[in-house]
Symmetry: C2
Amino acid sequence: MSELVERSGVPLPTVKYYLREGLLPAGTRTGRNQAVYGEAHVRRLRMIRALIEVGGLSVTGVREVLRAVDDPGQPGHDLRGVAHCTVARTVRGDRSSAAWIQARATAAAMVAERGWHVHPEAPALDQLADALEALHGLGQEDILTLLPVYAQTADALAGPEVELVTRRPDRAGMVEAVVTGTVLGEAVFNALRRLAQEHHSSLLA
Amino acid sequence: MSELVERSGVPLPTVKYYLREGLLPAGTRTGRNQAVYGEAHVRRLRMIRALIEVGGLSVTGVREVLRAVDDPGQPGHDLRGVAHCTVARTVRGDRSSAAWIQARATAAAMVAERGWHVHPEAPALDQLADALEALHGLGQEDILTLLPVYAQTADALAGPEVELVTRRPDRAGMVEAVVTGTVLGEAVFNALRRLAQEHHSSLLA
């Protein structure tokens, strides 16, 4: 296990925690207090840490992502299972109000208008409705004038992102690229967005 | 308080929780068990809920954002204070490894190369370094080929976003637009990005 710590750079107590939570499979026992961990363990360990520490996923979220990763029935390039698991990060209360249902309809209409093929129950549609409802409730509808730009930009980014994933030679590589591309790609983009906002804000100072 | 619940749509136990946590200021006392809440309370309540439920901020994060919002010394259009508060959502462990320091230098170089005016200690630079280090550790450098596209896109979005904020007539309106634009704008964009990824993924199915 000390080799695992050394090779992955993840501290021992964290490794033990992931093992206890069942995120990291146990090594192959070679003696009473000895187990062997392979390259697969190192990779898995790095992925778990990235999802939790960079992506902000919960242990439960990571468990669900790994289940999708390990499910051979899921096509390698299919982002849907993973997106489903990683999107629902926040606990959301009431989704039964008239305002929310209206926002949900707006979200669905927006996707239909762009001709996007999306599952009608996609969690990202609910997440979009959450944000739209909140913006309406706050009277910040002017921000919604950016929606067409956001949708166009998201579309322009998603093409090369998905294309990159399919360049991977095997299913395992594809799935890994989907997970990291979705979660870490979002972290990268959000950080750049904050930096660009700070830059444009400073131009006004 | 029942009027506050009705007008904001936030349930009573949640309102009480926000009051107890000091996020929502107390109403003006009019009797032993009576207090009056005004329009400002309703607005504040909606913002707190949006930051927590849609933006995924912690109570501590919201407290810091509200402190920046209420600080009259901060220029209304300045995104930096708020961005500082809202960016650090995840607990990050070790930022002293050689790999992280290398990633942090890459992040700073990327910003310098684009000519972005950004505080050298901007938390988003650390967040970017976190994501870059994780991608390197996972051997997923191919995703980094998208970095120029991400940076260009972030830049293209930030211009109109900041411009929108400055159109607000008063400081309070500007600050509110900054908070919701940063946090809810990110939620809107991330949801659209997932939907666009699902769409492009489905084209391959």
